[in-house]
């Protein structure tokens, strides 16, 4: 019994521990001093991020194999922490002087801790607990602007559907446990299943439960209402971070643990991916609210990422599996920047309208007319984010789509790639419309300067988007290396 043994084994938990400590510090300090909380949260995030990156190529298990620390988990932790940091920077301005800042940053950090544990989970129980930790904190965050009925509505809907989905997920998990007698992923992955109604039901229930977080059709319906109603900084966090929690859970639980059921989930994900991307893009066409449009675009993007799961279940060629999963990981990283940046840019406009006492719907497309003149940095950044989401070259979105689509083609699923490409073409319409409004229409409001904190956050996201698009080589390599976990 010695302390050194503990430290050497539990050292990998340090990023989570640091973040938790900062969260508790924030909520206690927040009782008295409020002005430094945002910076404190930021420091916590940076320290944690540094620790994760230092330990990137770790390979360890903890707590009786219920947590695993490998490049895959570290990769997702980096994504989560990056999104959290962006959100914190933008929140510095949005929640400046708010009486409940302590609770806000506390919840933000705790949600991140939850997501990070999901990335590390290697057991049904630890996955579920971490998943709930990450979810429940975001339910509260979505409803955080409690004077705004929309925000309350957003939180309420999110919570209701979330609770339902959790129940479904838990049911699926319990069925898996009932069939196999184990909850551990490593043990599950070595098991061969007898095809039966139970396995099918378990699989679909799990997909439904996780599909809620990933916002796959038809489990997506909370997403537009919540993204629109929630404070925009929180929407950024939800779309760019929390959603990825669903993906990492799906990767771990479905691709790693339930690999024996790949024939079954091939069909499920093929149907869901096609429906999701088509539905998302079609409905986004007619939206007037930019946050809603981004929500639907987010749904469509989830469809693209889900293509990787289809490819993985269809092909048995290692290089294609690696390309698909590496592509999905790269997509997730770049989507964090693109979508997070887009929401933050929309939030910037909303904030400026609020600050300049202009009483309109904060994210109506009309507010963006002539933005290139009144808020040039925001307008330019938003343009880049939207083009990136559409998949225009020299942005992260192009590289991501290229990787996933070519994986589909190499995997022998050309029809899927064709559908996805047609969808991308369709999506350009609603993205380009916003750009047109920003650059060619006359300014509607007189906005007085762009808020620094927002601009910093937006520019950081812009840097990520462009860097991943122009010089993707090393990042693609990392994603591919990480994706070797799935082979």
């Amino acid at each position: 019994m010695n302390i050194e043994w503990i430290l050497s084994n539990y050292g990998v938990l340090l990023p989570e521990a640091v973040l938790t400590l900062f969260a508790f510090a924030i909520i206690l300090i927040g009782l008295k001093y409020r002005s430094i909380l945002g910076y404190l949260a930021f420091v916590g995030g940076v320290v944690s991020l540094g620790l994760v990156i230092m330990n990137f190529s770790v390979n360890a298990t903890l707590l009786y194999n219920s947590l695993v620390f490998d490049p895959l988990s570290q990769f997702f932790k980096v994504v989560f922490l990056l999104v959290t940091l962006l959100t914190i920077i933008a929140s510095l301005r949005y929640y400046h002087g708010n009486a409940h800042q302590g609770e806000y940053y506390f919840l933000l950090l705790i949600a991140t801790v939850g997501m990070m544990f999901v990335a590390s989970a290697n057991d049904l129980v630890s996955l579920f607990v971490a998943f709930e930790l990450g979810s429940i904190a975001t339910y509260v965050l979505a409803a955080f602007d409690k004077e705004n009925p929309r925000s309350i509505e957003a939180g309420f809907k999110y919570f209701m559907i979330g609770a339902l989905s959790s129940a479904i997920l838990l049911l699926g998990m319990s069925l898996i446990y009932g069939i196999t007698g184990t909850t551990n992923f490593t043990a599950l992955s070595q098991m061969s299943f007898e095809m039966s109604g139970y396995t099918l039901a378990a699989l679909v229930l799990i997909i439904a439960g996780l599909g809620f977080k990933m916002a796959l059709v038809p489990f997506h319906m909370w997403a537009p209402d919540t993204y629109q109603g929630a404070p925009t900084v929180v929407s950024a966090m939800l779309a760019a971070g929390s959603k990825k929690m669903g993906f990492v859970a799906a990767f771990k639980l479905i691709v790693l643990a339930l690999i024996a059921l790949r024939t079954e989930w091939y069909m499920v994900f093929a149907v869901i991916a096609v429906i999701t991307m088509t539905y998302g893009n079609l409905v986004a066409l007619t939206q007037r609210s930019l946050k809603r449009m981004l929500a639907y675009s987010s749904i469509a993007q989830a469809g693209y990422i889900a293509m990787a799961l289809v490819v993985v279940s269809y092909t048995h060629v290692d290089s294609v599996v690696n390309l698909a999963m590496g592509g999905a990981l790269f997509y997730i990283l770049s989507h964090a920047f693109m979508k997070g940046g887009a929401f933050l840019a929309v939030g910037t406009v909303g904030y400026m309208l609020l600050r300049d006492k202009i009483k309109v719907d904060e994210d109506d497309i009309d507010n963006f007319s002539g933005l290139s003149k009144t808020a040039p940095i925001t307008a330019f950044s938003l343009t880049v984010f939207l083009f990136a989401l559409a998949g225009i070259p020299l942005t992260a979105g192009f590289v991501s789509k290229l990787l996933i689509f070519s994986a589909a083609i190499y995997g022998g699923l050309a029809w899927l790639a064709v559908i996805a490409i047609l969808n991308s073409a369709l999506s350009l319409f609603y993205y380009a419309r916003v750009v047109k409004v920003m650059y060619w229409d006359k300014p509607k409001f007189d906005l007085k300067g762009e808020p620094t904190a927002y601009v910093v956050a937006v520019l950081l996201a812009l840097l990520g988007t462009v860097l991943l698009g122009v010089y993707p080589g090393p990042f693609v390599d990392v994603a591919m290396k990480v994706a070797e976990v799935f082979l």
């Binding site: 339902l164 439904a208 489990f219 149907v271 409905v283 066409l285 080589g473």
Partner: protein, 644 residues
Amino acid sequence: MQEYAVLIPLLPIFGFILTLFLGRKLPGQGSFIPVLAIAGSTIISVGVLLEIYPSGEVIHQSWHWFSLINIGILVDPLAAVMLCMVSFVSLIIHIYSMEYMKGQGERYYAETSLFTAGMLGVVIADNLFLFFLSWELVGLCSYLLIGYWYRKPSAASAAKKAFLVTRVGDVLLLAGIFITYANMIKFAPDSQYPLSLLEIFRHITDIPPLQLTLITLLFLGGAAGKSGQFPLHIWLPDAMEGPTTVSALIHAATMVTAGVYLVARTFPMFLAAPYSLVVVAYLGAFTALIAATMGLVMNDIKRVLAYSTISQLGYMMLALGSGAIIGMAAVGIAMLHLISHAFFKALLFLCSGSVIHATHTNDIRLMGGLLSKMKITGYTMLIGSLALAGIPITSGYYSKDAIIEAALEYGLGSGDLLPYLMGLFTVLLTATYIFRAWFMAFVGKSRLPKGKPHESPWLMTVPLIILAFCSLVFAGAVNSWFGGKIFVEYVGRTFERIAGTDPEVLSAMGGYHLMEVHVEHSFLILPLAFAVVGVLIAAMVYWAKKPDPESIVSPTNPIYRLLITKYYELPIIDFISMRITMGVAILTKVVERIFIDGSIWLITQTGFLLGEILRMAQSGIVRHYATAVALGTGLLIIGLWGWL
């Protein structure tokens, strides 16, 4: 120096960016920035050449952007000498234009800098993709610079004409690249970029010969567009609407040689392609001849030079075509003339610029007797004219002689003397038209209606002297005087060095019989004799006025009419563009408006409709959402159960 080779095209790009954005605020419109940038390129180019010359090594670096796009540089002997020429001539002309284009806006300096970058990119590119990108950049800059005085309608339309005509060539080139890619994708290993020149050279023998002929002829089409070969030469004389420095830089020394360089760069492909080199030889000889005849009657001093450029480019093509017999040495000979031509043609253009600067007219009928007033310009232009005519000691004599000799070897070897004869006769015409221009401008009585011409300032005359010096000594120094054909041998080996290609194998594939042809020495006197005769004719008619030129130059003379209308160029083009092109255009317009626009309209409307319908599912009521979740789960289970 080698590690800096990548900076050669990059420096002028930086120069472009700086000048474009900061030029307005800097003294002299920032004209010194491109000069410094290009001086840097020149120093690096020369340094690299000196470094790689003794060992004959090759610099090859490339960077991937996925497997799709590859940026790389290849400096072999061929590229190295071309880089030195392009950067050096550009530098000289940039210095000259600091004075000549003073106060005409910083856009000029920025664009010429960008042009130089593009041209250096063409030369240094290690793959056809980057080559094509730079090629188009060069074309774009040419368009911008021809139309530099875009308020002048003739300049604007000349720019448009140049752009459209070269576009024909560009499309052909692009088609050639596509076919190459389709072939190469089968042979190139995954790790290699299929459009990389080295890869292509390694796999030439894998491409079917007739496809190779198609590819090379398409490349030749591209080269004809840029290098003004018949029948795509029509844009080049009109391009003289741009500033004279632009004519010197783009339409004499560098850009127009890009086409020749393309053929030289892909010469192994031509050598392995049946019939292609014969086409190259004939096209070159014919262009040389026909352009020289038109040059005889032009009155605009710059147009005389423009036709002369076309004619000389034809010579270079002829040299490349004679590679059917003499093999890789043809590349060396063509490049030798290309570079010596670049010097003396740039010199001639800059001299004419100096003259125009002084007299404010382009028309040689209005000049005369300028020699006494503009001594430096006059004598340097005389040197240029002698070089162009091919009188001994000058650079042009050695380089052009080499071509005529090569053409003769080709004729004797293949039994087809026609290209040689055309080339030989062109020598006579060349000497005549250039001395006609020189005599009309510089001797006799002044016919200027007003103004007193005077010599140009030193910023303009110093470049003239430098270029005159180069025109005098270049080809002799590198290829003749110090024993042996140093230049031709060095450049001719370029393909052995980069890809280890064996000319014998390639020519066997193309059906050419490479051989050493012995040429009688007495034949080699012929071009010189023709050149002297040409000068004498010009001197008799335009200096001694016996017979009086007025008696020949009359609208009733059918030959004169044929030449002055440029072989009825206008009606023919009119017919092609107005009847054929318009017909096709109307047809495509109908197709586009009804079928393409219509289907797009249909697609968008369907999309909107579907969007509106699907939107209704989003009721905003949580009960419905929960129902959707439950229903979705249930349907998936049932569907999956049924499917399995």
